[in-house]
Each structure stands twice: as structure tokens, then as C-alpha cells.
Symmetry: C2
Subunit: 165 residues, 2 copies
Amino acid sequence: MSKTRVVIGIDPGTATTGYGLVRMNSHSELEEVDYGVVTTPSDWEEPRRLLFIYHALREIVEKYQPESCAVENIFFQRNVRTAMRVGQGRGAALIAMATSNLPMGEYTPSQIKQAVVGYGNADKNQVQQMVKLLLDLDQIPQPDDAADALAVAICHLHTSQKMTT
Amino acid sequence: MSKTRVVIGIDPGTATTGYGLVRMNSHSELEEVDYGVVTTPSDWEEPRRLLFIYHALREIVEKYQPESCAVENIFFQRNVRTAMRVGQGRGAALIAMATSNLPMGEYTPSQIKQAVVGYGNADKNQVQQMVKLLLDLDQIPQPDDAADALAVAICHLHTSQKMTT
């Protein structure tokens, strides 16, 4: 029987960084630990926003002590300007995880859909419905960035479980 | 007569981050303080590379105690994949600067060329030649990322001087 594991999923950004912590218990059942978003005011300068995200994520990791983290691989999306901003937020998240010595898993959007819904072309709503179902929640987690973060955490638990069994 | 000022310019990246420190003395003359690059091995995982950049830049700031920093605004360049990677490196640099409470100036490529060479469409070689000349160096600073970092530091000193006089 495998041990209980807690992982943190992150949906990076500068304005809004989603996070979601999921526990897999010794029966391989998933449980929501916590989820939410770190938001930074748009009138703050970028360095201050990134530092805030870094500290906020470190506090969350400190509180829940996950054993690893997972982040969506978003290199294939969006326009250049958005990519640069998301990259900066992603950098803040990755440094926070590295400071805490957390191993990181990276997953493409289709890997996440495959792991959560069962097929790689699932739409956003299907992913969110499955997150609600798998974590036995009363409603779809809000906001979307938090639901996305939970989805990548679930993907990480499913994938790394397969890898180690 | 204005006081002596030291600023750090940064040319962000994940593989190579250029930095350049320039002093403006009380006669408004520019002097090179230090320059170089922080490089990270390509076989390291991204979080480790970003954390390394963060720590390396913090050490440099600790050593030279610049009063402010300057970074090129590169939101209008490159492809999405490159933009994301540069964004991550830029995030690491910005968090390092914010941790040290350094105010930051951002300049577009044409602002830097205008400030260093005198016109916004100057080519890379003209910028490098002017960096060499302005800092009274024996040769063009190498590698390119270090020269670019010195250029943005010079731009910052020229621009912020104009702003405050």
C-alpha cells in the first residue's frame, strides 16, 4: 500500500496565480487540501508583483509541506506579449518551488486533460466537472485558475503514481 | 553637483543573463564597475536554473550596492517559446532586484540605442562601440549579453539624469 502524498499544482500568471493542493491517501483516493489564487494589484510594479507571488507561494508550501509540485507546460500558447508576462509569473513560481526543494512535474494541456477527463481534447468545462467529481466537492472550484491548478495537481498524482508502480 | 551613482543593467535569459554595473561620478562621467554573465547548464532543470540566477544576481547586488537597476523591455520581440523562457529569466532577475529593494527602470531597444548611440535605429555593433567608448574600455565587452547589460545601465543613467535635472 502506498503512502499518503500531497502535491501542489500551480497555474502561473502575474495578475492571478492559481494554486491547488491535493492529497492522495493510502487507498489512492484523492482529497482536496486547499486551493485558491494569489492576486496582485495591476498598479503595482512588476518586480513587486513577482516578489509577492514568490512569498505567497512559499508560505503556502510552508503551511502544507507538499512533497512535489506540478506546473502546466504552456510554451505552445498565446501571443508573445502574454507569453512573456506568463513566463515572468512562472519564473516566480518556479523559484519559490526550487527554494523549497520541491521536485517539479511539467504537463502539457493535453496530458492534463487526458489524466483528468480521460481524453486529451476535453474542454475546460469537462475538466472542471471532473475536478469537482474526483475531489468530491460541492461545486466547481472558483476561480478558473484555482480549478486549473487542481487539475494539474491531479494529473501529477495520477501520472507519477503510474510511473512508480 | 550631483553625487556619484552606481546602477546595474540586466539582460535577462535562462541560459545566459548579462549584467553590467556602471558608475556616474560627480562630473557626470561614466565608469565601468563590473560586467559579465551568469550562465546555467542546459542539463539543469528550469527551477534550479532560475534559482541560481536569482542567487547570483543577489550576490552581485550585495557586492556593489547599486542604487537602482535597469532592464530592457523586450515584450515586442521573438517567438512565443523564446518569450516564455526569457520571461522566466526576467522574472528571476526582477525578483532578485525587488528583494534588494532596487527601483527599476525599463527601456525599449530603441530608447537604449537613442541614449547610447544617439539614434534609435543604431545597429548592435554601433551600440557596442559606443559602450566601449563611453566607458573608456580597451575593447568591446564580451560576451554580447554583458555589453547589452552595460548599454541598458548607461541608458538608465542618462535618462534618469535628465529626469532629475
